[in-house]
Symmetry: none
């Protein structure tokens, strides 16, 4: 009976566009930083839709919104969801697709009069992007007990505001205890934010794991000196040392399976054409799906830093900016997503998430996996972020039938 | 009679320290960027001293200051001089020694009542450092006709200001035509800015030639993308490309005799830890005493740029910021400096200048050489730049007797 059930892509697109009007930037894209006025308006809009769909809405003390559709058998719900905060200049889909895709699943079931055995739930997690408050994925991290509520509420924004005060100010400091509703399973629908699905011409990604992340900032102290008169053998060039390490980061990334490595920031001082740099500061972003390999990459980086300190006669120090272990999602749900896509006639592949998501936090407390849809040109965190409506439709249909199977199976 | 004549090192040191107070940085060193307010104050101070010494001061249209002490025979003067602009964080001696050493020569002759056959002149050239306006040695270049006045006045500073407007603003857009006074000979006293004299334990450098300089700015355009989700093979990383070229610059410098190479500026965009750089801009400073070798270094750099454009799939463009062929100074004046040092009891050696100096421009129009004094640890363009007073004294005494010989001989 429900095998022919499909979501309504026009309804989903209307909600995505309507939410995208909240915080829309005159120059394009959306700016809805966590707990800003725009975030409050977006939350109000989504909570209104949840209530219209008959869902029971609860707000917890960190501002997470959990909306429940009862099941005939009760018990732990099958949960979906994501976030609606954006980076400073984001797009329509990142996060929003997961929340509004969940509402579309509920409306499709409501319209067809279908009751599930387990309850269903749609969650909106606070401050996933980390663009205003660090760390990112803060709401879901608190939900699973990975960060204490008091510590989270004391977080200071880049604009100086305190998270707890901002929550109260926008009316989303709720009564519920974070983590009050433990899911039976969690499935998050999200755009890929990378080029893999588009490059391979595939519609659905069954996300089976998520990269571990190691962020470091490296500072190198050399000696400023005249670029013309200082013989090469007498130099302690912080700029050269930084450049050499950046090329080693590339070699490390190419040497280890599944490894990526990026130096996105390099700053030199005094930054003059004819002065050997006295100081260089740069960042290293290392990611791998395997914790042992990620640790090996970190050791190789440290060896490179030791080597350049010795050979160039410079002082090297580094500090950790962020460190998350890789996450392995539930193999059974990843297989279910693949099978569901196949049953609906969509191409699919198993894949890894290179970005962090709320699902990685939920994976700590329940079986979890993710559904990815293609991102045109791999672009996200950018007003040009785009996914074709047909792909959004496919993603939401796979979410619908994956949730049905988890709730009834 | 004049054989026993010596300069007054205490008087010279007082002027050096007094000028060093103008633009002094709270954290040490001096910041007197060309045509800044501090440069104006420094110029006013020096012009005041020139007038006190009875010199006839003329300012030309590019802001060069030329102060003349008459000679009994008239004719073309023996000129000395240098510059008083500094890098952003410079020291007391670079440039200033050449100007104030010249004034010390004049004051010594005035005090002893000595008249020379030819006139003497002390010049202060505009924007020698190139730290605010490119190219460096701009004032002396215009003075010898190597750069048109209008083009020079249209030069834009790193802070966006136009050179001509800044000259007018600080009151140093003069009436004289640059090059109005052609010297009989030019001798510049300068700190070495390198480690050679100190390492050899020698007091005076008789500078017989000067490295050629090739400055380029390279811009690399890649593709901004997510540092986690973009596989290494699909990257067009402008930051990596810039770092790789910087390591090649080091290899080029090590491969060719007498070659030095420096990347002192690297700027990445968007400069975010988790975004592959879309754009990199960096500078390359190549120098050699031999023009053919310098050209070879430039070809090797171009090959490196072509190679990275191909292998990384990035677009590379470069523009020349400055290009000067190596300069051979006048062998007779270099020998005169050596002989003068010997006659005064100072050790000396022939040597090459690794830095650019105003003297290299004057060498285009008259017999020219330079006198170097040791730099402690070879450090310059740095608040820690230092030369021992005894060495400054030796240099100014050699300047005094070299100018006397040239003016009377």
């Amino acid at each position: 009976m429900s095998a022919n059930l499909r979501i309504d892509i026009d309804r989903l697109m209307r909600r995505l566009r309507r939410l995208g009007e909240v915080g829309a930037r005159p120059e394009g894209g959306v700016s809805r930083l966590a707990l800003s006025d725009a975030d409050k308006q977006g939350r109000d809009l989504v909570v209104g839709w949840m209530r219209e769909l008959g869902l029971a809405v609860a707000i917890d003390a960190i501002g997470n919104i959990v909306a429940v559709r009862p099941g005939r058998g009760g018990g732990a719900p099958v949960m979906t969801g994501s976030h609606i905060d954006t980076v400073r200049a984001g797009g329509l889909y990142d996060g929003n697709l997961g929340v509004l895709g969940g509402l579309e699943v509920v409306e499709t079931l409501n319209a067809a009069g279908i009751e599930t055995a387990r309850p269903l739930a749609v969650a909106v997690f606070t401050n996933e992007e980390g663009a205003r408050f660090a760390p990112d994925m803060l709401g879901s991290l608190v939900y699973v007990g990975g960060l204490g509520l008091d510590e989270a509420l004391a977080t200071t924004a880049i604009d100086g505001a305190r998270l707890g005060e901002e929550l109260t100010r926008i009316g989303y400091a709720g009564e519920a205890t974070p983590g009050w509703l433990l899911p039976h399973a969690f499935v998050e629908l999200h755009i890929e934010q990378g080029p893999v699905l588009e490059a391979d011409g595939i519609t659905i990604g069954a996300v089976e794991n998520l990269q571990g992340i190691s962020w470091q900032e490296v500072a190198i102290a050399g000696t400023a000196n005249h670029a013309g008169t200082t013989p090469m053998r007498l130099r302690h060039d912080a700029g050269y040392a930084a450049a050499w390490v950046a090329t080693r980061v590339r070699e490390i990334a190419q040497a280890l399976p599944e490894q990526v490595g990026t130096v996105g920031v390099i700053k030199l001082e005094p930054e003059l054409i004819n002065v050997i740099a006295a100081k260089a500061t740069f960042t290293v972003d290392l990611r791998n799906t395997d914790e042992e390999r990620l640790k090996r990459a970190e050791r190789m980086l440290q060896q490179a830093l030791d080597e350049i300190a010795r050979s160039e006669g410079v002082t090297v120090s580094s500090r950790v900016l962020a460190r998350f272990e890789p996450v392995r999602f539930d193999a059974g749900i990843a297989k279910l997503i693949e099978d569901t896509a196949a049953g609906l006639g969509y191409s699919s592949r198993r894949m890894t998430s290179g970005a962090g998501h709320d699902a990685q936090m939920l994976a700590r407390v329940c079986p979890t996996a993710m559904i990815f849809t293609p991102s045109v040109a791999g672009i996200s965190h950018n007003p040009r972020e785009h996914t074709e409506p047909a792909d959004l439709e496919a993603g939401a249909n796979v979410l619908l039938h994956t949730m049905l199977e988890l709730a009834n199976g």
